[in-house]
């Protein structure tokens, strides 16, 4: 394990905005967790109901078959395999059905051939599932194809899928947000964070495409901060905390050039985007890259502006050195 370490956030009086963002994210997560507790339990019941999912696969396969022009060839092929009884294809298709806005809208109204008892059961459950999905906080606040309001590109940044998702994002927010706030000020960090998140959402919707599965999390916004950080500190050395073995000498702090960290950081997301099949959906790696690109872009503009005006936005070199 190896984690970056910048100490800006420890001087919390100098990084109040970062801490406020951190506390707001934590608080909002707890609030939503309480609000959606019983809905989450119901949701789990749906996704572990194999009869429901199996029937859904057959139904969605017929739905796709009737609309060859509206679905990509890959999905039509998967649908055909699912109808032949191919278990992997059925499993995949049943998950995709839950993300498809068109199917959620038109699916239950159509007639299907096959196991009529299972289909009737499925229709009841599917309608309940769609209602559940509509009122779930991730749908209410997240970015999805279910609604197209722009303000959700801001609110989605404060919704997280689980405590692990939250903790990892907050860790990086404190590390990079705290450092940047000491360097460029709270207002700049705040807008960089929000606008980075908006850019990430737009990149995701363009490159991956929206579905009913909502985009949530602060990763895009945090990648914006990291992108901005990369422009100004590429050749500097950064502290990393590493832990390889629980023995003396195999854990501690080292300093590595920032560019190594950034290459590894971007490579993982890049590899995941290359390995993903767009029609099948998945984790929002393009949102990470979009936020990062936004941060890089803003950082580059600031850098060029600084150079042109010969004024430092990042003024106090000795204070910065201490932070690194």
């Amino acid at each position: 394990m190896i984690l970056p370490w910048l100490s800006g956030f420890l001087e919390f009086r100098k990084a109040p905005v970062t801490w406020l963002l951190f506390l707001f994210n934590m608080g909002f997560y707890v609030f939503l967790a309480f609000q959606s507790y019983s809905d989450d339990k119901q949701f789990d019941r749906f996704v572990s109901d194999t009869d429901f999912l199996k029937t859904q696969a057959f139904v969605f396969a017929q739905f796709i078959e009737r609309r060859p022009a509206e679905y990509p060839t890959l999905l039509s092929d998967i649908a055909a395999r699912a109808q032949q009884g191919h278990r992997v294809a059925q499993h995949q298709l049943s998950g995709l059905a839950l993300r498809d806005a068109r199917f959620a809208e038109e699916g239950p109204a159509e007639a299907y051939f096959g196991d009529e008892v299972a289909i009737a059961d499925w229709k009841d459950k599917f309608e309940s599932f769609v209602d559940l999905q509509k009122r779930h906080p991730s749908q209410v606040w997240g970015v999805s194809s279910g609604s197209e309001v722009f303000w959700k590109t801001v609110t989605y940044q404060f919704v997280h899928g689980g405590y692990f998702h939250l903790v990892t994002n907050m860790f990086f927010l404190l590390i990079f947000g705290g450092f940047l706030e000491v360097a460029i000020g709270g207002a700049a960090v705040f807008f960089l964070y929000l606008l980075g998140g908006v850019a990430a959402a737009l990149a995701f919707s363009e490159l991956t495409g929206l579905s009913l599965a909502p985009l949530i999390g602060a990763s895009g916004a945090i990648n914006g901060l990291i992108g901005f950080f990369a422009v100004f500190y590429l050749r500097h050395r950064m502290s990393f905390f590493y832990f390889l073995l629980p023995r003396l000498g195999y854990y501690g702090k080292i300093e590595l050039p920032v560019w190594i960290f950034l290459i590894l950081w971007v490579l993982s997301d890049f590899a995941s985007v290359m390995a993903s099949v767009p029609e099948l959906g998945g984790v929002a790696y393009t949102a990470h890259l979009g936020g990062f690109a936004f941060g890089l872009g803003v950082g580059a503009l600031v850098f060029l502006w600084r150079k042109a005006a010969s004024h430092g936005v990042f003024g106090n070199a000795s204070r910065l050195h201490k932070m690194l």
């Binding site: 199996k54 009884g85 191919h86 590493y242 390889l244 080292i254 390995a275």
Partner: protein, 625 residues
């Protein structure tokens, strides 16, 4: 002796972990497209193609890892991870970085050591800490920063040699056990992936049966008939039947008879684990009134009629039951109605089918027993027992015990059945025969059902009972008060060293004798924490019924939730309905009432009371069913 101190094993391990932090992102990018292709092949390709891709992926990772090592070791004599910890790979002869030929050779052998793992133990006992890849390539890994020599100590050497031998033995035994387990699992389980092209996951039991089936079967409907016959005969499980039914029920165009058959199959497959069994049954005759499947549902309806009066005659239906599964149901019907001659006729018709031999043997025994041909029944039983008819792994079980045990499970009133009388007499007469644990528990249960006084162990012959049973009976005698008895039984249930059958018996006694819900709280908590299947599920059901009788509806609700989670069958849906109703959640009770069919299959003994009233009340409040 090397010029520099040797690298310690932990240094080398840490260096490899550090190398992985760099290597993994690089290889993820390099193999991203291949990974994508694997996902697509899983969905659209064939199994051989998928295997080929996996092998290629593995080979690519090994190849890239090899390239990584060769690149860095040739250029610098170290890798980034090793560099971080001050390690260097040097040639033992030249004391410098090895040349490219040795690096190539060493890197190949490094992978072999990593895959086999055991050769790496040489790090602890070799005098220069050189595993196979170092020894064969004439290299050694040294640590430029180490102050000590880094040589292995005596303890390290001795410990690792012992560990090496032990691990080799364990791995050989483990591999043998895995292979055996895989073989027996593939024999026992019903499902297998037939092929990915044409891609239906069908049932291995049916494939096996088709090889020896008397008639030629080629259609999907024929397969489903075979699956139904196997299921009716107890030769396959609901999962297998469900898979076969699925392959037919989703066909675009199917004849009404096919459709009716697949609905009947779904009904059977859902009987123990699903909630829609009755709904499927209702549809069968709606789809095809004249089919054999409809005749079977009508026969099942006859089963439910008053057994004492015999019900309306079933002969008109029998003419429609022409395939094996229909005949098996007819056989069950004739046995239940005591029509042994008709049963014998059916058994004779089915006798040519080797896949149904187990079922045929069982019913032959029962038929002979009912006709009082005891010697023939005993002989048939011995053959049946020797050919795998052991439900309980008992060594000396007899047909009488087996029949009596089943009668007592249905209730104490059956303790006077002829099978139980014969069972007890036989065991008393058999002079030195020892009893197995299940047989002993059956004898004890019989004695208690008949409310007889006296000590079972001493009156029948103490040495003939297994020590565990004797200890159990002694334990049962000890406590004087009800509270002590309860505590004692709870201890037996939770103690791991008692057998399953004894622990279950203790649980049943606790439930039977409890006069207060608090007597069952700890047992309930214990039960909720277990992986409850098979017979232990029955304990949960008894607990629920007892809580309802004792009017502890909150505990009953907790149990009903867990029971439903384990088995969402109709009985448990009924339990949920009752529990929610009695705790005031009528809306939820109504949801479950809607799931329940109109017909009753089995009513749980205690909870049946008030069930119809509850249903009626809910129906009046929320609308008709």
């Amino acid at each position: 002796m090397p010029f520099f101190p040797l690298a310690l094993p932990f240094d080398r391990l840490a260096a490899n972990i550090a190398d992985m932090i760099l290597f993994v992102p690089l290889v993820s990018v390099a193999l991203a497209l291949l990974k994508k292709q694997i996902v697509l092949t899983q969905l659209l390709g064939t199994q051989p193609q998928l295997h080929a891709y996996f092998v290629f992926y593995g080979a690519a990772v090994v190849g890239l890892g090899w390239l990584y090592q060769v690149f860095f070791l040739t250029l610098t004599g170290t890798t980034p991870g090793k560099f971080f910890f001050g390690l260097r790979v040097i040639d033992v002869w030249t004391k410098r970085a090895p040349d490219w030929q040795k690096v190539i050779f060493r890197s190949v052998l490094w992978w072999l050591d990593v895959i086999l793992i055991l050769p790496l133990l040489a790090l602890f006992f070799d005098s220069h800490r050189r595993p196979m890849h170092d020894r064969m390539a004439d290299t050694v890994v040294v640590n430029l920063r180490n102050r000590s020599t880094g040589l292995p100590t005596l303890f390290e050497s001795f410990f690792s040699k012992t560990l090496f031998c032990g691990m080799t033995l364990v791995m050989v035994l483990w591999a043998a056990a895995e292979v055996w387990g895989l073989y027996s699992r593939s024999n026992r389980f019903g499902l297998m992936v037939k092929s990915w092209v044409g891609g239906t996951s069908l049932c291995a039991d049916v494939d096996r049966a088709l090889r020896t089936w008397p008639a030629e079967i080629s259609s999907d409907q024929g397969r489903l008939r075979v699956a139904m016959a196997l299921f009716a005969a107890g030769a396959t499980d609901a999962q297998c039947l469900d898979a076969e039914a699925e392959s037919l029920i989703w066909k675009k165009q199917s004849a009404t008879a096919e459709k009716a058959l697949s609905y009947l199959a779904k009904a059977f497959s859902q009987m123990e684990g699903g909630a829609n069994s009755d709904t499927y049954l209702d549809r069968v005759c709606e789809i095809d009134r004249v089919s054999e499947a409809c005749a079977v549902t009508e026969l099942m309806e006859l089963f439910r009629k008053d057994k004492k009066n015999g019900g309306p005659p079933a002969e008109p239906l029998m003419k429609k039951l022409t395939s094996e599964y229909g005949k098996i149901w007819a056989a069950r019907y004739f046995y239940a109605r005591g029509k042994m001659d008709a049963l014998d006729g059916i058994l004779a018709e089915l006798s040519l089918n080797p896949s149904l031999s187990h079922f045929l043997s069982e019913f032959r025994i029962k038929s002979l027993w009912k006709k009082n041909e005891w010697r023939s029944a005993e002989a048939a039983f011995q053959i049946y027992w020797e050919n795998g008819g052991r439900p309980d792994r008992s060594e000396n079980a007899s047909m009488d015990w087996w029949l009596c045990d089943r009668e007592l499970l249905r209730g104490c009133e059956n303790s006077l059945q002829p099978s139980c009388r014969v069972f007890e007499e036989k065991f008393k007469r058999a002079a030195k025969e020892s009893f197995s644990l299940p047989v002993s528990l059956t004898l004890l249960r019989k004695k208690e059902c008949e409310k007889r006084d006296g000590d079972l162990v001493s009156s029948t012959g103490g040495e003939r009972f297994p020590p565990e049973f004797v200890a159990y009976v002694e334990q049962l005698k000890l406590p004087k008060t009800a509270a002590e008895k309860n505590k004692n039984l709870l201890q037996i249930v939770t103690l791991g060293h008692y057998s399953e059958s004894v622990r279950r018996d203790a649980a049943y006694r606790m439930i039977r004798d409890a006069q207060n819900p608090s007597h069952l709280k700890e047992l309930t908590q214990y039960w909720l924490k277990q992986e409850n299947d098979g017979e232990w599920l029955g304990v949960g059901e008894m607990l629920f019924d007892r809580f309802v009788d004792l009017k502890d509806h909150a505990s009953a609700l907790r149990l009903s939730e867990r029971l439903y989670e384990l088995s969402p069958a109709e009985e448990n849906a009924r339990r949920k309905m009752l529990a929610h109703f009695h705790t005031g959640d009528k809306k939820m009770a109504w949801e479950f009432a809607k799931k329940l069919g109109r017909r009753e299959k089995r009513q749980p003994a205690g909870a049946a009371s008030g069930y119809e009233d509850v249903r009626r009340q809910l129906s009046e409040e929320f609308g008709g069913l």
